[in-house]
Symmetry: C2
C-alpha cells in the first residue's frame, strides 16, 4: 500500500541534459496519477519502469508548454500499445480545445476515449474522488490560469482484530458497528470497550503539488499539515526580482509556505536552467524549513502507512 | 571542415528508455541541419552539447508525431533563449497550418520569424542551396506524404599551390582561370600544365536520409554513390509482413537499396520497440551489405575530406 511521488522532470521551461521539464507521478496504493506532462514524460516513464498502460488519470496544472508538451507523444503511444480504456485528463478550461485542435492532425482514429474534466482556477474544488483518494485544486498565482493539486487518501474505518471476533464470538451484523467505534456487549452482559476490539485507522496520507506560482499565502490553508508539499522554486533568493517579474517563487518563499502550513516535508524543483549547481536551492530553503529536499529526476519520495495513535 | 551525422533518436514511434524518437543532426562544415524532430530532441541536443542557437534549418520528412513532436518544445526554448534570427522549417504541405494552429496556444509572441518552406512529395526537387551545400528531396513510400533528403556539398574549384604562384609570378587575374583548370603560360612562352600548379578539388561529401518508407526502388538513383545512406529499418526480415502492412522496411530491404545504389556506408535505425535486442538488425543487413551500422542515440558518423584523385 504505497504512497509515493516519482519526480519525472525537475527543470523549469528550459530542460537540461540532466533534468526533463515538469512531470510527477503519484502512486497511491498502486493507482497512478500523472501530474503535468512536460516533453519527454513518456521516455521518463519507461526509464523508471512505469507501464504506460497503468495511467488512467492525468492532471495538468496549466497550459504552458513545459507542463504539457509530453501529452501529444504520450497519447500517441497509448494508441500504439492498443489502449481501450477511457483516459481522464483534468486541466484548465482551454485544455479540451487545445488537445482536439492538436489531435486532428495526428490521431483522428484513437483507440480510446479521452474524457476532459475542466476546472475553474479561482476557487479550490474537489475534482476527483474514488474509494481511496480525493483530489482538490489549489489555485495558484501565475501568468495564466493555474492550479496545483492536493491528493489526500480517504479516511478508513478502524480495523477489527480477528482474534477478538473469535474470542467473543462477535456476529457479523455487529462488525460494521464496531468498526465505526461502538463497544460490544457479550451475551452475558459484559461490555468490551472498542479499543480492545479494534486497531485505530491508518492516518490519511497526502501530497500537495504547487507549480507554477508566485508566493501566495492563500496556498497555506489548502496544504496545511500535508505529508509532502512540492512547491516550485524556480529562482534562488538573490533573483527574487526575476521571480516577481515572471510570477515564480524563490527558495525562501517556498520554505515559508511550508513553514506556515506546518507540512512534514517540502520538495523544491522547477529550477531555472540559468544556475550551474542546485545545492544552493536546498541550502537556502533549509535555512527556513529544514525538512526540505531539492529534487532530481528519478527521485522517489514515500510516505509510510501508519495508524492513528490509540 | 567536418561532415558528420549525429543520431539524436533511433527509435520508431514508441521510444524506449535508451532510444528517443527520430532526429538526426548534420554538421556540414559547422553549419547545422536538424533532420526530423521527435519528442525530446532539444534534450538530446543539450546532452550531446550542441547549442540550440546554432540551428537555423530544420527539415521534416513527414507529419507523424514521432518525427515532429519535439518541434513544439524546441521552438519554445528558442524563444526563451532570445533567438532573433529567422528559423527555416522545410516540410510537407500541411506543416505550416499545423504549426500555426499549435503556436496560437503557446507562442503568440515569438521573438523570431519562422519561414516555412513547403515541398511537394511526388518528385525530387532542390529545396535548399547555399555556397556550401544543396538539399534535394527523396520521395518515399509511406502512409502519408513523406520525403527523405539528400545533403550534398557543392563542388569546389581546384586549389592553386601558393609556392607555384611565387615561382612563376602568376598574376592575380590568371588565378581564377587556373583554379578552373587552365594551364599557365609564362612570359618566356613556357606552358606550365595545370596539374603542376594546382591540387585537385575536394570530393563532394553526401548524406542521404530515408525515413519512413517501404521498399522503393525509386530511391536507388537518387542516392547513388552517396557517402552515407541512412535508411529506416523498422523490422527484422521475419516481420516483413508487418513492414509491408505499415509501409516500413526490413533489414534486407534497406541493405538491398544500399547495395544497388553503390553507397559507401549504410546506417539503419528507426527500430520497432518490439525487439529486445538490436544486434540482429546489423547482422541481417550486413549479410546483404557489409558496410552497415545499426545506429544508437549519440552515435556520430563522419565522412573524411579528401581530394579527387589526380
Amino acid at each position: 500500500m504505497s504512497f509515493s511521488v516519482t519526480i519525472l522532470g525537475s527543470s523549469s521551461a528550459l530542460p537540461t541534459s540532466e533534468r526533463f521539464p515538469t512531470a510527477h507521478l503519484l502512486n497511491a496504493n498502486e493507482r497512478f496519477f500523472l501530474i503535468d506532462c512536460g516533453e519527454g514524460t513518456q521516455i521518463q516513464l519507461r526509464k523508471y519502469r512505469i507501464r504506460l498502460g497503468k495511467l488512467n488519470h492525468i492532471f495538468i496544472s496549466h497550459l504552458h508548454g513545459d507542463h504539457i508538451f509530453g501529452l501529444f507523444g504520450l497519447i500517441s503511444s497509448l494508441k500504439l500499445i492498443g489502449r481501450e480504456a477511457t483516459l481522464h485528463i483534468f486541466g484548465p478550461d482551454q485544455i479540451e480545445e487545445l488537445m482536439l485542435d492538436h489531435l486532428k492532425y495526428f490521431q483522428n482514429e484513437l483507440s480510446f476515449e479521452i474524457a476532459f474534466h475542466k476546472f475553474q482556477h479561482r476557487h479550490p474544488a474537489t475534482i476527483y474522488k474514488d474509494n481511496n483518494i480525493e483530489v482538490t485544486t489549489i489555485p495558484l498565482k501565475h501568468r495564466i490560469p493555474t492550479c496545483g493539486f492536493l491528493f489526500r487518501e480517504q479516511p478508513t474505518p478502524r480495523n477489527i482484530k480477528k482474534d477478538m471476533v473469535e474470542k467473543y464470538k462477535i456476529p457479523i451484523r455487529e462488525i460494521v458497528k464496531i468498526k465505526g467505534g461502538k463497544d460490544f456487549e457479550t451475551g452475558d452482559g459484559q461490555t468490551i470497550p472498542n479499543s480492545e476490539l479494534t486497531l485505530p485507522p491508518f492516518l490519511t496520507r497526502s501530497y500537495a503539488y504547487c507549480s507554477d506560482t508566485a508566493y501566495s499565502e492563500e496556498i497555506i490553508e489548502l496544504v496545511r499539515n500535508v505529508d509532502i508539499l512540492y512547491h516550485e522554486t524556480t529562482f534562488l533568493q538573490k533573483d527574487s526580482d526575476l521571480a516577481a517579474e515572471t510570477l515564480h517563487s524563490t527558495t525562501r518563499q517556498a520554505a515559508e509556505i511550508a513553514l506556515k502550513a506546518g507540512v512534514k516535508k517540502l520538495l523544491v524543483g522547477h529550477f531555472s536552467s540559468r544556475y550551474k549547481s542546485y545545492d544552493t536551492f536546498e541550502k537556502e530553503a533549509q535555512e527556513v524549513f529544514p525538512e526540505t529536499s531539492a529534487v532530481n529526476d528519478g527521485d522517489v519520495f514515500s510516505v509510510s502507512r501508519v495508524r492513528e495513535k490509540m
